[in-house]
Amino acid sequence: MAYNCAVLIKQVPDTKRITGEAMNDDGTVNRSALAAIFNPEDLNALELALQIKDKFGGKITVITMGPPGAAAILRDSLFRGADDAILITDLRCAASDTLATSYILSCAVKKIDYDIVLCGRQAIDGDTAQVGPQLAEKLGVTQITYVEELVELNGKTITARRNIGAGWQQIKTSLPVLLTVTGEANEPRVAAAKKMMRYKKAHTPLEIEQKIKAENPDVDEAVIKELAKHKCGQLNEKCLLIKQWDLDFLGADLNWCGRSGSPTKVHRIQSVVLAAKESKDVPANEKGISNMIGELIEDKIIS
């Protein structure tokens, strides 16, 4: 049987490549200087969905919540083989913590037909690994976290191997299920040239409107809207329209979105400046090193 997969992805700042340029003078991180990338383990989740599709057939829908620019990772997913893409973008989503985020995502996932929901284990900006399990709870589906291998899919049952730290566990359960996928699960495929040719034209309604506006700077707003609507209709017929959903479309309860839906709040942010209280330069010669060892013995650090 074929399986429909929903893959939840996130665009994140590339925290692994923080260089001098990305640091402000006061030692804080200048986020705008960091490249926005496809969260690495979300690529593993997408790859697992693609492997399921290759073997059994079915449709892959990728979903992200973020600013309009997050459409870039949806297009990237289409290049790699996803079938449909949804951008949840709404200013009222801002300041959502993991609880509010999982609520908003659950409203979107409930609108599509799925057998398996896949998420990356965690995102590199927050490293919380919370949205996956919270989404599973909101959807009322079983979760398998830390998946490192999909062992078998057979009818309505799935068998997966999960990492349990020093070791593994093989688990069987019934669909529907939500998996969080680790970086060890697979090697994500690269974009296919043919799909890139096709899907580079895939855009969100907002992107289309902005493009028409840029091309027709002197034209009336209402006309632009009309032109954009027409263009969206054309793209939609060719399956090249990236869906753009807001909280009204999702029918989300605004009390559970954004700041009001987020129990956790930031009290303070500090940049990390670690420094040793006293430090000594030790000459890299025998005498310097032998003096250091003497001190460590005196301090009873080594014996």
């Binding site: 609880l99 490293d127 919380t128 919370q130 979760q143 020093a166 069987k172 025998e286 090193i289």
Partner: protein, 345 residues
């Protein structure tokens, strides 16, 4: 979701597997004790399993005033749904103000599921917890005695303090190894409260077909001295220097993520944000530039020696002894120096 409730207790999830307590609930007892004493409330542990009552004593010796014990054959093996259901029910029954979990694989699987059901806040992977006050803005109510949930974020480049003042309980998972283990006091007394778990087979959607646990190659958390190598060591062959130095000090060999990714040593030895957090008496960092992600796992070491040929390497910013030079010469000199001292004694 429960309301703000100043009499609520401080709870620690008593994670156990196969009748063995994990280290994390014990580690959390010292911090939990401190939070509970500051707030003037009781410290309790929630212990789930089948025939695990004997573990309650150890938790009491380590600082718990109370144990909520839920024993049931269906709780013998951890499953997300069954454990989440029982703990969720207990939270609603007793309304604790704080619930802490170890940020273990199990804790990070379980806590978000409970948080979502309880519509409560949850902060992941905290490295410190404190009690403090928060004022959201001018002319706004002061929130007193909140739990400050302190954690690195953004790849370890910032430290965020998170709070949770309007919907309780305040919940957090706490990174393994960052809280010191308390000394058990075998004279301590506590109360064990038996709870009935309401469970049916439906609460266990998983079938565990097989499980394989292996011993970790090294126990970095308890090591008094650690010798760690980074990418700068150059090759797996050259990593022998790290092993040699570790051997002559009776130390545990460790590595950065980069060295692990390069295949110099097994990932069991990895120290840092994605590895183990350590706080030894002495940490010798060899060929380690000192990425913030690595520092996050070792900066609490009592003394740090850094050996690196780049005098601008960030590791020197936190090192107590700075050796700028070629590690291939410096490390053998350290080994020689230590051997000569141990011969004398």
């Amino acid at each position: 979701m429960i309301d703000v409730n100043r009499q609520g207790e401080v709870w620690v999830f008593g994670e156990q597997h196969n009748g063995q307590l994990e280290d994390t609930p014990i580690e959390l007892m010292s911090k939990g004790r401190h939070l509970a004493d500051t707030l003037g409330v009781k410290l309790a542990s929630v212990l789930l399993g089948d025939k695990v009552k004997n573990l309650a004593t150890k938790l009491i010796h380590c600082g718990a005033d109370k144990i909520y014990l839920a024993e049931h054959p269906l709780l013998e093996h951890y499953q997300t749904n069954s454990y989440a259901k029982v703990i969720f029910d207990l939270i609603h029954k007793y309304e604790p103000q704080i619930v802490l979990y170890g940020a273990t694989i199990t804790g990070r699987d379980l806590a978000p599921r409970i948080a979502s059901a309880a519509k409560a806040g949850l902060t992941a992977d905290c490295t410190d917890l404190q009690i403090g006050d928060h004022k959201p803005g001018k002319d706004v109510q002061l929130h007193k005695n909140l739990m400050f949930q302190i954690r690195p974020a953004f790849g370890g480049n910032i430290i965020a303090t998170i709070i949770n003042y309007d919907r309780w309980p305040q919940m957090a998972t706490v990174r393994e190894g960052v809280m010191p283990m308390p000394e058990p006091d075998t004279g301590r007394k506590g109360e064990i409260i038996q709870e009935k778990a309401q469970l049916s087979q439906q609460d266990l959607p998983l079938e565990i077909l097989a499980e394989h646990k292996r011993e970790r190659q090294v126990n970095l958390k308890t090591a008094r001295i650690i010798v760690a190598g980074g990418a700068g060591v150059g090759s797996k062959d050259n990593f022998k220097l790290i092993w040699d130095l570790a051997n002559c000090l009776g130390a545990a060999p460790a590595a950065t993520r980069a060295a692990v990714d390069l295949g110099f040593i097994d990932s069991d030895h990895q120290v840092g944000q994605t590895g183990t957090t350590v706080r030894p008496s002495l940490y010798i960092a060899v060929g380690i530039s000192g990425a913030i992600q690595h520092q996050a796992g070792m900066s609490q070491s009592q003394k740090i020696i850094a050996v690196n040929n780049d005098s601008n390497a960030p590791i020197f910013g936190i090192a107590h002894y700075k050796i700028v030079g070629d590690l291939n010469q410096a490390v053998p000199r350290i080994i020689k120096g230590i051997k000569s001292v141990s011969r004398e004694s």
